[in-house]
């Protein structure tokens, strides 16, 4: 089995985020980037499948940030067999552009399974997995919280709302949007990452960012405004209920 994992760098929320001058994006000049947390889970799920079936795991990332090399080397150090960087200095790309570039690159590779995070911190809607599946005309399942290799395909657990999950048997090849791996993403020692860097087994391919397609446009971004703080309601249930009714009445909604 060949598994391809799509890895996306996202702005590091540890840093203080600022808006660009035109107010439609983050000020990306001084941003640090880290691997999208959901993609880290996708990678972990792929590595667990590798542990179980001996699958070959390749990782793919677009050259949208300086940290991409580090992200790919870390994946290699964790146990990925191949790493490929698509393009360089591509700048920020929307979901559609990302999916197009990934799908173009993966078409010839014909992986049995494509895994990526169900969403990323910097996209509007979790669409990359869907769009890649659509471009390659493959079945897909979103919000996956576990996989199990079975004869002739893969069994996946999809999470619904309210604690409901559903199990699907999916024919391969397929695309999965991973919500969470079965286990927490593994730790990889810094020395192993450094070793991977020294080995330098990073494939690089030239790609060109597609023209922005018509779609959703950002009109304005804003920093969330701080509220005035919470009011703690004291007393037993009855007193609390009365207090809440009073607050609602004052607010004119009851």
């Amino acid at each position: 089995m060949k598994i391809a994992v799509l890895l996306r760098p996202v702005p590091d929320p540890v840093e203080e985020l600022e808006l660009s001058d035109d107010g439609t994006d983050l000020d990306r000049d001084f941003l640090g980037y880290v691997l999208n947390e959901f993609d880290d889970h996708a990678l972990e799920e792929a590595l667990l499948l590798k542990d179980e079936t001996g699958a070959e795991v390749s990782v793919w990332a677009l050259g949208t940030a300086d940290e991409v090399d580090q992200i790919l080397y870390t994946a290699l150090a964790k146990g990925a067999d191949r790493a490929c960087k698509l393009g360089d200095d591509l700048g920020a790309l929307d979901s559609r552009a990302q999916a197009t570039l990934f799908a173009d690159a993966l078409g010839d590779e014909a992986p049995d399974l494509i895994l990526t995070g169900v969403q990323a911190a910097d996209e509007l809607v979790g669409q990359v997995a869907v769009l890649v599946a659509s471009a390659l005309d493959l079945p897909h399942v979103e919000v996956v919280v576990g996989t199990e290799p079975v004869d002739g395909g893969i069994r996946v657990t999809k999470e619904f709302w309210g604690g409901i999950t559903g199990d699907y048997q999916v024919a391969l090849p397929a695309v999965l949007g991973i919500q969470a791996a079965r286990e927490a993403p593994r730790y990889v020692a810094v020395s192993r990452v450094r070793q991977a860097q020294q080995e330098g087994n990073l494939e690089e391919r030239d790609v060109t960012a597609p023209e922005p397609a018509p779609g959703v446009k950002v009109v304005e971004m804003r920093i969330p405004e701080a509220g005035e703080g919470a009011e703690m309601i004291e007393g037993d249930e009855a007193a609390a209920a009365d207090a809440i009714v009073e607050i609602l009445r004052r607010a004119g909604v009851a």
Partner: protein
């Protein structure tokens, strides 16, 4: 007293036939061969270990000094110290005595055939006999003292494991070995005196034998049997004593008695500083310890040196808090594994636990993962070990392997990832590090821009933890008021990596260290002062810096002494907690105490203080790990110790940001928040300064 030399002495094989003598030498040869065989197996095991250069003239002399004075045995336990001193010197003198006879009889008379050169007679014999009896009496008294102590079952000699339930393991072999060893020593001593008494009675009390005080006494008791019966008793006892002695020689390398040999060498090769500056990764392609040949030969030898005295077991904060770690058991498990792997036969049958024998990995196999993560690296075990076993570096080497395998405790993994990103374990941006300075009404010099005398390496907890940051501001005000030229590295500073290194993440430590060295090398300063004892240790012992690194209490002590900081007086009693990394690691015990006394507070010591201080439980990366499974957290145990000092001890004084965090929690969880105030020394000084006007006015 003067006797003719020819008349004074004794015959070794008095009344023996040639066959008997031949039989004795045959058995002696067998015993020595058995000893050498076992010795060879041990040496071969050490030979499988990694080569490290530890033997110098200085280390040999230092080891001999400790062996001769027995001070490491006596430390903290005078009763055992005296008893073991008597046994040790008794054994040495008796061994020398036997060797003298062997030289006089076997070498000079039999091998060289020069009876005229024999010297074991005359005045020499008299002095010899007196020394043998006096030291022999001491030997027997010492053995009896130790046997008596063992009968009283002291807690530290309880061999129950902390990580396995009763019945899941078998340590009866250890207890048997103890009894056989002690019993053999006692038997050898007592049978020797009986033999001497029977002989003196059999040869009708030659007056010069009065110096053989114990033998003479025995002889006067058995004299009534008559010379013939005494001579028969002598012959029988000679064989019993002789065979026991030969048996003992053969038994040494297969038993606890091997510590007689191993401990002398262990004390010569041990490195007391190996936890302060950890050994580098031996094989960068495979960090940490994997199998028997990963261990340094000194580590394998030190494992054999363990006598199961249980001192480390008793002082270990992880063990005390119910964690599955006992330094004693860790060493014994490693020894059982090493012996099983190196095919060392042990007569008493305490080999490796079956689970350990089949383990393919030492880290996580022979020694459980939870056991390895439980260590706080407080170094209390190494400080009390009488034979120089280096538990902490071995544990770190095993942790390095776990980290390389990705087998990392979840809390620790989170901390490592945060440290890799922002250089702090709080998951904060590096830019937020100097945020605590905003609460000051003066600006702190940026050492990257201006030269200063003291570069203040603030540390993670002191910068980011809200409670510790308050103390940090206090320290800043004190230094500012005292007119000290100091500055900080602002957002360039990263965690110094002390605990990252001790958690086994060597690569991350190197990243942090190299980053810090980069900005430190560009800054201009004469000395480094740090608030964090953990940073203090690694900056002083592990960073390639050629400047002095001191603790803030040392600087404050100097400022108070010089009068740069004037203090008023506080009333009341305080106790002080020695941080592991300031005390045992950097050996600064007095500066904080001087400061407390300088405030006018009366210092009341806890039982476990100075080098015997009890860890708060935060070191070695433990502060990042989950401690909800512990029966009693070490910090809570410590708070109860302080509370037991009495109602009038109001202040629990700390000198470490991590202590501030740990003990602020522990006074709450133990319910002693109203009884005891956790306060940093700097805060005490600030309060004492506030009373200056009142005292003067």
């Amino acid at each position: 007293m003067a006797w003719a030399a020819e008349d004074v002495g004794r015959e070794v094989f008095l009344g023996f036939s040639a066959v008997s003598i031949g039989l004795f030498y045959g058995l002696a040869a067998l015993a020595i061969a058995t000893f050498l065989g076992g010795f060879f197996l041990r040496a071969r095991k050490y030979g499988r270990g990694r080569k490290v250069g530890r033997v110098t003239l200085r280390s040999i002399l230092s080891g001999l000094e400790k062996v001769a004075t027995q001070r490491t045995v006596a430390k903290g336990d005078p009763y055992v110290g005296v008893a073991h001193f008597l046994v040790f010197w008794g054994f040495v003198v008796l061994l020398i005595g036997t060797t003298i006879i062997a030289i006089d009889e076997d070498v000079i008379r039999v091998i060289l055939g020069k009876p005229e050169w024999q010297f074991w007679k005359g005045t020499f014999y008299v002095v010899y006999a007196l020394a043998m009896d006096l030291f022999g009496i001491g030997f027997v008294v010492g053995v009896l003292m130790l046997a008596f102590r063992r009968r009283r079952r002291p807690a530290r000699l309880d061999y129950r494991r902390v990580d396995l339930g009763e019945g899941d393991y078998d340590r009866s072999g250890y207890s048997l070995d103890d009894k056989v060893f002690l019993g053999l020593l006692l038997f050898l001593g007592v049978s020797g005196f009986l033999l001497e008494g029977f002989r003196i009675a059999a040869v009708d009390f030659p007056p010069f034998e009065k110096v053989s005080v114990a033998g003479w006494l025995v002889g006067t008791i058995t004299a009534g049997w008559g010379p013939v019966a005494n001579d028969w008793a002598r012959l029988a006892t000679w064989w019993v004593h002789g065979l026991a002695a030969l048996g003992f020689v053969a038994y040494i390398p297969y038993s606890k008695a091997m510590h007689i040999v191993d401990d002398v060498v262990a004390l010569m090769v041990t490195d007391e500083d190996s936890a302060k500056a950890l050994p580098p990764v031996a094989d960068p392609t495979r960090p940490g310890y994997v199998s028997l040949d990963s261990f340094a030969w000194v580590e394998l030898l030190e494992m054999d040196a363990c006598t199961k005295c249980g001192r480390c077991h008793e002082v270990c904060p992880a063990r005390a808090s119910g964690a599955p770690l006992s330094p004693r058991d860790l060493i014994l498990d490693l020894r059982e594994y090493a012996d099983a792997t190196a095919d060392i036969p042990l007569w008493y049958g305490t080999g490796a636990e079956p689970a350990h024998r089949d383990a393919t990995e030492v880290a996580g196999g022979v020694i459980g993962t939870d056991t390895l993560w439980a260590c706080t690296t407080c170094m209390a075990c190494m400080a009390v070990c009488p034979v120089g076993i280096e538990h902490v570096p071995t544990i770190v080497q095993l942790r390095r392997r776990l980290v390389d395998l990705g087998d990392v405790e979840p809390g620790l993994q989170k901390a490592f990832q945060a440290l890799g990103r922002g250089g702090n374990s709080f998951g904060k941006s590096a830019k937020q590090r100097p945020r605590w300075t905003k609460g000051l009404d003066f600006e702190i010099t940026d050492v990257r821009a201006e030269p200063v005398e003291y570069l203040w390496f603030v540390g993670d907890y002191a910068s980011f933890d809200p409670r510790a940051a308050e103390v940090t501001q206090t320290v800043a005000r004190l230094l500012h008021d005292a007119g000290v030229s100091f500055g900080i590295g602002y957002e360039s500073e990263r965690n110094a990596g002390n605990d990252v290194r001790r958690a086994g993440e060597e690569g991350l430590f190197e990243l942090l260290r190299d980053h810090n060295l980069e900005w430190l090398r560009e800054a201009q300063f004469s000395r480094i002062v740090t608030t964090d004892p953990h940073s203090l240790n690694t900056l002083r012992h592990e960073y390639p810096l050629d400047v002095e690194v001191i603790h803030y209490t040392q600087l404050l002590d100097a400022l108070v002494t010089s009068g740069a900081l004037r203090l008023g007086r506080l009333e009341g009693k305080a106790t002080y907690h020695d941080p592991c990394y300031l005390g045992r690691y950097v050996e600064e015990f007095d500066a904080p105490r001087n400061l407390i006394r300088a405030t006018g507070l009366e210092l009341v010591e806890m039982g476990r203080c100075r080098e015997n201080s009890f860890c708060c439980g935060a070191g070695g990366g433990r502060i990042w790990m989950d401690d909800t499974g512990l029966e009693e957290r070490p910090a809570e145990n410590r708070i109860r110790e302080a509370v037991a000092l009495g109602d009038d001890v109001r202040f629990f004084v700390v000198a470490c940001p991590k202590d501030m965090v740990m003990y602020s929690d522990a006074v709450k969880t133990t319910g002693y928040e109203d009884r005891l105030e956790v306060v940093d020394i700097a805060q005490l000084l600030e309060r004492a300064r506030a009373t200056v006007g009142a005292a003067v006015g």
